[in-house]
Symmetry: C2
Subunit: 388 residues, 2 copies
């Protein structure tokens, strides 16, 4: 454990990506006096367009390395940047959190599951498959249904196919471009509920501090996070098990900074890890108003080697509702005036260039005496808002 | 009462000034999806340097009018911009809040006091003076001590002189450059405590909504706000009187958006208005974490013609401690690591270019069960931080 040298200049944080996660990280960083610079690979005006944004391909070390010059630390808002390019950035002498090795392991979901399994963490059975026949073999062992998944670039339900019988294997294999794309198969999890836990882990070169946010209930709609309520409605011993599983999972993948852990809760109370997001995560947005120190501020603290803040809820409960684009349309929603009139609703509009069907355009958070009451406030505001 | 037309484009807010007040307004505006552009008249890197900043003289309509082009609304972080230039901006067709007429009245403290007196609001006796003899005449009526003040450009104790006897008049007159500068004189207020109230008033063309934040206790040190605790320790009827006085004072000066009202509490419970700041104000910084809707978000809502949010405290009490430069030094404080370890302390570092003696460099907020307990947390963190 060492303490990083502390220059008294303003730290500069280079963020790869300019979406809503980068925006909320930048807000937390600037509150603490840091400078922020941003690399974005798409030319559209983005939520961070008012900041200093460089346009360029973040998978190209010839772009990445000069961009990061002078930054005290580099971080990112999505886990799909090529880990080889990020490894070159590290070799050039730049600090990157999460580290390239962590991203390499998480990007490839098969490697992610293997790392978690190696740490004896609870998972649904999985195996790589290199032909449709191997999918059928897996079903012979575990039974139907199975979920066929791409090893890379899957998110929000993209890159997945649920297979209910041998007759459906060929179509699923084709849909996911098996052969061209590396796939794996997982036993279908007939889960009762989906939980999530945000964890912030300090830089291992600085301290062994880890903070675990409250376990939350999440509700997905069309594979996209729709609502989050904190704390989850769970018996204390299940809560403790979920927290501990999340903490160990973050350590197993070598996460640094804020990391999202998605969990399945089975009807018998068993908790299985669904997926890891090695970055700030939608299930932790409630922490901006809901917790003493948000997932965004704790991420900034962690990557700068600063002490972590408390993840304690400021109120008995908090809830968040995502604002999802209903179709193509402008960046500002209809109904904003009515939604702002809902007392206690904290409205976040990301300021994206356009609304598109299924695109995350903003969110609403509310605090309350119970998760249900907080959710009712957030939903009252969210229902008045419409993008596209 | 009308409803402003609502385009579904992102509103653009033009802010005159790039200091900490502009920064916190920009944070609130971007959370709500707005764009921000900034005009600054000094070439130093400022807290908003990461945003799009235009350098230029904001007292020059030839700079001001092209800068504000395309902005949906213009606002400001200090009341010293020449009201004539701002009036020209309004004539050019731009919406400005607070309006130029309000600023003209507040900039000249004699006009400010006259407007408040005309509304029958409680003030210490005052009168304009055009010679040292008139100061002595005032003392004959009110007794010593008196406070001699510049009508314009005074703040944080600058431009004031307390006079205890006729023998001190000449020196005070000279110090304040009486003759060259227009002065007025006020009866000295032997106040017990200093209170403040933030008020957010909607645009009168949109609604007659006014929200009043909790009355707070403020402690000044060397004429600079040092700590704020909310709510003030006051009997309910004094609290109600202070709230009502603040609300009426904001209406009397034609304030729009968030306005700070500084009050004196006399030993008999009488409340006198000390001074008005027609903008977001240091005594309301606690509202970022402390209230459902901060003074910054409510200012943005007000100037865009949106419904105002609730000023209710999120916890029983809140406290704020200013971080003041002890001398020349870098923008990041010594002791940050230790201060971040204080649980529940919300640290704001403004990111100014340099620390200077007496300069506001940041602040710390804490919530708690009582004002004293919240203050203890904020002070524990603030005491570990040193600028310069």
């Amino acid at each position: 454990m060492s303490t990083p040298a502390h220059s008294h200049n303003r730290p500069t944080i280079a963020i790869l990506g300019s979406g809503q996660l980068a925006k909320m990280m930048a807000q937390a960083a600037t509150q603490l006096g840091c400078r922020v610079k941003v690399l974005e690979n798409r030319p559209n005006p983005a939520p961070l367009a008012d900041w200093e944004v460089t346009l360029g391909d973040w998978n190209d070390p010839a772009v990445l390395i000069p961009f990061a010059e002078g930054a005290d630390v580099v971080t990112l808002e999505n886990e799909f940047i090529e880990s080889d390019a990020l490894a070159e950035l590290e070799v050039s002498g730049r600090l990157l959190f999460p580290p390239a090795a962590c991203l390499a392991q998480v990007q490839d979901k098969l490697l992610q599951k293997e790392a978690l399994a190696a740490a004896n963490l609870p998972l649904a059975p999985f195996r790589p498959v290199s032909s449709p026949d191997e999918v059928v073999e897996a079903a012979e062992r575990w039974g139907w249904p199975l979920v066929l998944k791409r090893r890379k670039l899957g998110y929000d339900g993209k890159g997945n196919a649920t297979i209910r019988s041998a007759a459906e294997v060929a179509a699923a294999w084709q849909k996911l471009e098996g052969g061209a794309a590396a796939l794996y198969v997982e036993q279908f999890c007939p889960f009762d509920r989906e939980l999530a836990v945000m964890v912030t882990r300090a830089r291992p070169d600085v301290s062994d501090e880890v903070v675990v946010y409250p376990v939350v209930d999440t509700l997905q709609r069309d594979h996209i996070c729709h609502t989050v309520t904190a704390p989850a409605r769970l018996p204390p011993e299940w809560m403790a098990a979920a927290s501990l599983t999340a903490k160990r999972a973050v350590e197993a993948i070598g996460g640094v900074g804020s990391v999202g852990v998605e969990l399945f809760l089975m009807s018998d109370g068993q908790i299985l890890i669904n997926e890891m997001a090695p970055r700030v995560h939608n299930s932790g947005h409630y922490s901006i108003e809901g917790c003493d120190c948000s997932q965004f501020e704790n991420h900034i603290r962690a990557i700068l080697g600063w002490p972590l803040g408390s993840p304690t809820l400021r109120a008995p409960a908090a809830a968040m509702v995502n604002l999802i684009g209903a179709g193509d349309g402008p960046a500002m929603p209809m109904g904003l005036r009515d939604a702002l009139a809902v007392e206690g609703a904290q409205i976040h509009i990301y300021g994206k260039d356009r609304s598109m069907k299924g695109r995350k355009m903003g969110h609403v958070t509310a605090l309350g005496p119970t998760p249900e009451k907080a959710l009712a406030i957030a939903q009252r505001a969210a229902q008045r808002l419409r993008f596209g």
